[in-house]
Amino acid sequence: MIEVKNLTHVYNEGLPHETKALDDISFTIKDGSFVGIIGHTGSGKSTLLQHLNGLLKPSSGTIVIDGVDITDSHTKMLDIRRRVGLVFQYPEYQLFEETVAKDVAFGPANLGLSQEEIDERVRRSIELVGLDYERVKDQSPFELSGGQKRRVAIAGVLAMEPEVLVLDEPTAGLNPKAHLDILDMVEEIHKRENNITIFVSHNMNDIARMSDQVLVIHQGRLAMDGTPAQVFAREDEIRSMGLALPDATEIVSHLRKEGMELPADCLTVDQAAEAIAKALEK
């Protein structure tokens, strides 16, 4: 369980150009949930993510993960990093080793594990991201395709076996096929590991389809916290923050305005299609 309480982060505190990037944010994430975070560019999403694994320290407030306060200065950094794996935007840009296996091993090696344990984890996480271990392990990561590079980079974080996996726009800049592949993979890993997965995305369809809980960040504040259905029901507010609705919700909303009798909580194309078919039959 993750409990964030009154988290505030001020950049350049005390200087004339100080800015409040996060302002009094509190929320709770239950074990095994899949959480989507949405917000306009510059709303403070990335700052929030970086707090979750101790890369940034809050100006005030606490983050407690499974009873451990990671904002406490006595908590060991490696302990935090072991608990929370953070996959940055365009994670393939951090690949550096000569071979895929060595690169994936970087994280577990930093944890000071035994060589057998490291090898085991490297194999496991490369397979977890859907790559053929025997085929790619001795390849240079730079010879791989864009989508494969990203998988290797994600494997590098998975190899640390975090209890919480955080992904910042994991599909940015990928083609539609690779986009779906990566999301399927993330969902698959989530199911198999039953961990907490938190992901940031600008694609409302993905958010609506995949998450159990949605956090909406607006100008450094937590504007909404609820299920996708609850969040996307507040249509006007979502729009006023410069965000969009999922395509299906959008279409259903238009049809409702035209007088068709449809439920308001259609989030996916399948749900919308079913509801529309039902309404037409009447």
């Binding site: 970086q50 694994n53 940055f88 690949l95 550096f96 970087f106 730079f142």
Partner: protein, 266 residues
């Protein structure tokens, strides 16, 4: 954080010194440095200090900014001073074992010290009061006479401009990479020198790759907009030699004349 590193140390302002033509400022700075080596006695240094002091006051740059530029080189100055004090031969005024201090040694050390400090402050006044773009434009203009002998003045200036432009971009990139590797448990702060040097590999490799990628994108973008260094280009902000530049030139020439005459006559 790494982003706090200040580079190109331009201090925004609107003073007379800021407004001077970069060409005048660059040439004056170069000649000032030469003059510092011509000067060989205290009266000459006083003239040099007075001129620099006048520039500092006119530029309205806070002294702590100037001091900050001087700080990193203090060790070098201290080292040179020590070497000069003990190594120059002449009339001994203090001796301890093989160490001795001579009158000539003290004199040389004092001169070297003053010279170095003036040299650093003088050249940092140029960068503090001139935008990087102004600097490169000025250098290009000053180098253009050498185009006749095949010197690619415009290309050199363009390279400098691009390099300056990408310093903040690369710093940001470095910051991102450091964080990403820290998220994978990398530790840059502990261990001996060898360990720390090794810890840099996961930063440097991605950084180089990023730099190449950025360079390639930029080259493509420039080409897409038909950039060609050889064609005659016009500028958005053309440099103009104004009245204040003339006045500055006259004052500076007077300074040079004083320095040279004093050296020749005395």
């Amino acid at each position: 954080m790494i982003r706090d590193i200040t580079l190109g140390q331009y201090y925004p302002g609107n003073s007379v010194i800021h407004k001077l033509d970069p060409r005048v400022k660059i040439l004056a700075t170069l000649l000032y440095i030469v003059a510092l080596f011509v000067v060989n006695d205290f009266p000459g240094f006083i003239v040099a200090v007075v001129l620099l002091e006048a520039v500092i006051i006119l530029s309205k740059v806070p002294r702590r900014y100037i001091w900050r530029g001087l700080k990193p080189v203090l060790i070098i100055i201290a080292f040179t001073l020590t070497v000069n004090i003990f190594m120059v031969g002449g009339d001994i005024i203090w001796q301890f074992g093989i160490l001795h201090i001579t009158r000539q040694g003290l004199r040389t050390a004092a001169f070297v010290g003053i010279r170095l400090v003036l040299l650093i402050i003088g050249s940092s006044m140029l960068t503090l009061t001139t935008r990087p773009i102004g600097l490169t434009d000025g250098i290009e203009a000053l180098l253009s006479p050498f185009k006749k002998v095949g010197l690619p003045a415009h290309e050199l200036a363009m390279m400098m401009t691009i390099a300056l432009r990408f310093i903040p971009t690369l710093l940001e990139e470095t910051d991102k990479i450091i964080k990403a590797q820290q998220a994978r448990g990398a530790d840059f702060e502990s261990g001996n020198i060898l360990r720390r040097a090794k810890a840099l590999v996961p930063i440097l490799v991605p950084l180089f790759i990023s730099a190449f990628r950025i360079a390639q994108d930029l080259a493509m973008a420039m080409e897409a907009r038909c950039y060609g260094g050889v064609v005659k280009r016009t500028r958005m902000n053309a440099m103009k030699f104004a009245r204040r530049d003339l006045i500055a030139t006259v004052i500076f020439c007077a300074f040079l004349a004083v320095i040279v005459l004093q050296r020749v006559l005395l």
